[in-house]
């Protein structure tokens, strides 16, 4: 099935669902993609053979995604109805990173976990996430601009492309007005205001909202919130289209980051300002 025909099917499915259900028009149902990553405070090594990150330890919610979760919760609160559903792809049925977001207030989660996904590249990840998102049938998908561990920053736009939905990146503020998303999109100079129809994929920049702390009641409730665990075949994907088999990206080699060269020490004997000016001129910054 091509991406396009699959997409048409899911569009139709969406229409069917929206007419068949008693959904309140105002409700906002938002899918937030949440990546669960090895704790950056205690970074794991790389698998020498594949160059992949060792994900065998405990995984936590990527901090970058906490902003999207917060924004989504706020949008649902503003709409006065609807819910936040988390979507994640992670090894070994890992849910500890999801519990944090469930404790913050997300209603449920879809977790895709399958041995066939080992070695997935960003496109495979996007294929998986897109199908999982389609099951949620949201009005809006929120993702982070880039993850903390892989940080290619390419997954969200690939998800949007596969869904055939518009994508707006680098959001610092999202509001829903008359069924459209109005997004303040960060630029070097300030921000652009972009409007787009829903459903859409919006990526949120780190630090633009203050993620709430889970309340104690939220923490206690998190365990009983549903986490729907799916495998590759549940999503209608072929095992060889994802994972290392389906990956079009390969880690060719891994090298240490170049050590920064020692800086030059200028001893001021009354002339140091000239050395500094010369140095800055060489850098072409003045």
């Amino acid at each position: 099935m091509t991406a396009w025909s699959w997409l048409c099917r899911c569009r139709r499915a969406r229409d069917w669902r929206t007419t068949g259900e008693t959904r309140n028009d105002k409700d906002m149902n938002i899918a937030v993609c949440v990546k669960q990553i090895p704790d950056p405070a205690d970074p794991p090594g790389l698998d020498e053979a594949t160059g992949n990150l060792d994900r065998s330890g405990k995984l936590i919610m990527d901090d970058s995604d906490s902003y999207g979760v917060e924004m989504a919760l706020q949008l649902v609160e503003q709409a006065g109805g609807g819910e936040v559903t988390l979507v994640s792809m992670a090894p070994r049925g890992e849910t500890s990173g999801l519990r944090t977001a469930l404790a913050m207030g997300a209603a449920k989660a879809v977790l895709v976990t399958d041995e066939a996904l080992a070695g997935s590249d960003a496109l495979s990840t996007a294929k998986v996430l897109a199908r999982a998102v389609a099951r949620v049938n949201p009005d809006l998908v929120v993702m982070a601009t880039e993850s903390t561990d892989g940080y290619t920053g390419t997954t969200p736009v690939q998800v949007a492309e596969l869904m055939g939905w518009p994508s707006v990146t680098f959001a610092k503020k999202i509001s829903i007005q008359e069924g459209k998303a109005v997004v303040q999109r960060q630029t070097e100079a300030g921000y652009d205001e972009v409007e787009c129809p829903l459903p859409a994929v919006v990526t949120v920049t780190a630090g633009v909202v203050e993620p709430r702390y889970p309340s104690f009641k939220g923490i206690m409730a998190a365990k009983s919130k549903p986490v729907d665990q799916l495998g590759v075949s549940d999503l209608g994907l072929l095992a060889d289209s994802v994972g290392s088999q389906g990956a079009r990206q390969q880690v060719a080699s891994v090298e240490d980051a170049p050590v920064r060269e020692a800086g030059a020490v200028v001893v001021d004997e009354g002339e140091a300002h000239q050395d500094i000016v010369r140095f800055l001129e060489e850098l072409k910054v003045i």
């Binding site: 500890s96 702390y213 889970p214 104690f216 998190a222 365990k223």
Partner: protein, 395 residues
């Protein structure tokens, strides 16, 4: 047998620790030195329901136990922001009110412990009756519908931020032994006849200590907590939570000190190698770490046993663990670990150990206090000698 905390416990630790980290030790010291309170930190914890984790759900709390409250207490201390009032207000006092209060008393105070909107001080210590509570002389005399309270308490924490104080007072005497018959009262700190003056102590903490004078204070009979003359027996129910929470502060301070010390010892280099590679530096830290982990295990065991016993799991004795013994041992170990860890951390930092900037010496008073209050190390050793080892009592 399982030593792993639940994911809820881990999330609670993370959440409290990130709230506390946002404020940090510098904020704590600034507030303490300027006479301020940690109101913003308390407010944020209260709003998220962390102050009230141990209050039953029926009264608006989190419905969990002392284990969860001790997590809150430990994590705060581990960020350099220990809150002593957690020991008396939601632990000792709420426990006593939940257990011995009338429905009116419970519905009046428990919801406010649950949402953290009220603090209540606790007053047992007197100038002439410290470790010996039988000697308490603050007296409540029945006068028609009310009691009249007269006497002096000292070292009472937090009177300037609390609304009321739970007072242990004498309501009679045993005819044979002459020992006081005690009762518990909740007294408003703004009631006519209540005055208090600060006692300066060498401890950097936002909580201040006070001498409290009760001068013919009229206390309505509705403020008697529990049964008249049964106060001594009743107050014991508040002492295990008190010991557990004190242990948690100690464990937290120990963690705070060791994390700073090990970071410093990895990075500071005076002979061309990190000072942590000298065993004279690393061994005291390793020893402190072992003592800290032992204290933490005892703390967890005591808190777990307390909650089991309270909830009546496995019959009336709950866990089969002697809660009183475990709580006393946890308090002892927590206090000693705090002192050992902080001292090793200060030594590791050389001269910087004494600098305000490094945030270690500022906690010396707080850690040292734990060996004396709320119950002294000697009284714990007395308890273990008599109770656990069945040795004769010498006083």
């Amino acid at each position: 047998m399982d030593f792993e905390e639940t994911s809820e416990h881990q999330m609670l630790r993370e959440a409290v620790s990130s709230i506390a980290a946002k404020y940090g030790h510098a904020y704590f010291v600034d507030q303490a030195r300027s006479g301020g309170k940690v109101a913003e930190l308390w407010g944020e914890l209260a709003k998220a329901g962390y102050i009230g984790v141990g209050i039953p759900e029926q009264w608006g709390g989190g419905g969990m136990g002392i284990y969860e409250l001790s997590i809150v207490c430990e994590e705060l201390a581990a960020q350099g922001t220990p809150i002593l009032l957690l020991v008396v207000s939601p632990a000792v006092n709420a426990t006593l009110i939940e257990r011995f209060g009338t429905d009116d008393q419970r519905s009046r105070w428990l919801p406010r412990f649950a949402d953290g909107s009220m603090k209540m001080a606790f007053a047992i210590t007197e100038p002439d009756a410290g470790s010996n509570s039988h000697n308490i002389s603050t007296a409540a005399t029945k006068d028609g519908d009310v009691y009249r309270l007269n006497g002096t308490k000292y070292y009472i924490s937090g009177c300037d931020e609390a609304e009321a104080v739970l007072v242990v007072a004498r309501t009679g005497a045993d005819e044979q032994t002459g020992r006081g018959k005690l009762s518990l009262f909740v007294v408003d700190l703004d009631a006519p006849g209540v005055t208090y003056t600060p006692i300066p102590v060498e401890m950097t903490a936002p909580e201040k200590q006070f001498t409290v004078f009760f001068d013919n204070v009229e206390v309505p009979a509705s403020r008697l907590l529990g049964a008249e003359h049964e106060g001594l027996r009743e107050v014991f129910f508040g002492l295990n939570p008190e010991r557990i929470m004190t242990s948690a502060i100690g464990v937290g301070i120990g963690r705070y000190a060791l994390s700073r010390a090990s970071e410093y010892a990895r990075n500071r280099s005076v002979w061309g190698m990190p000072i942590g590679s000298h065993q004279a530096v690393s061994h005291p830290l390793a020893k402190a770490k072992i003592e800290l982990e032992q204290a933490k295990l005892m703390l967890q065991k005591a808190a777990w046993a307390y909650d089991r016993e309270k909830n009546g799991a496995d019959g009336s004795r709950g866990s089969g663990v002697d809660t009183g013994e475990a709580a006393n041992m946890a308090k002892y170990a927590g206090a000693e670990a705090a002192i050992t860890c902080l001292d090793a951390a200060i030594q590791t930092h050389g001269g910087n150990g004494m600098a305000s900037e490094y945030g270690l010496a500022t906690l010396m008073g707080n850690a040292r206090l734990l060996r004396t209050a709320p119950v002294s190390r000697e009284m714990i050793l007395n308890f273990v000698a008599q109770h656990s080892l069945d040795l004769p009592k010498g006083y």
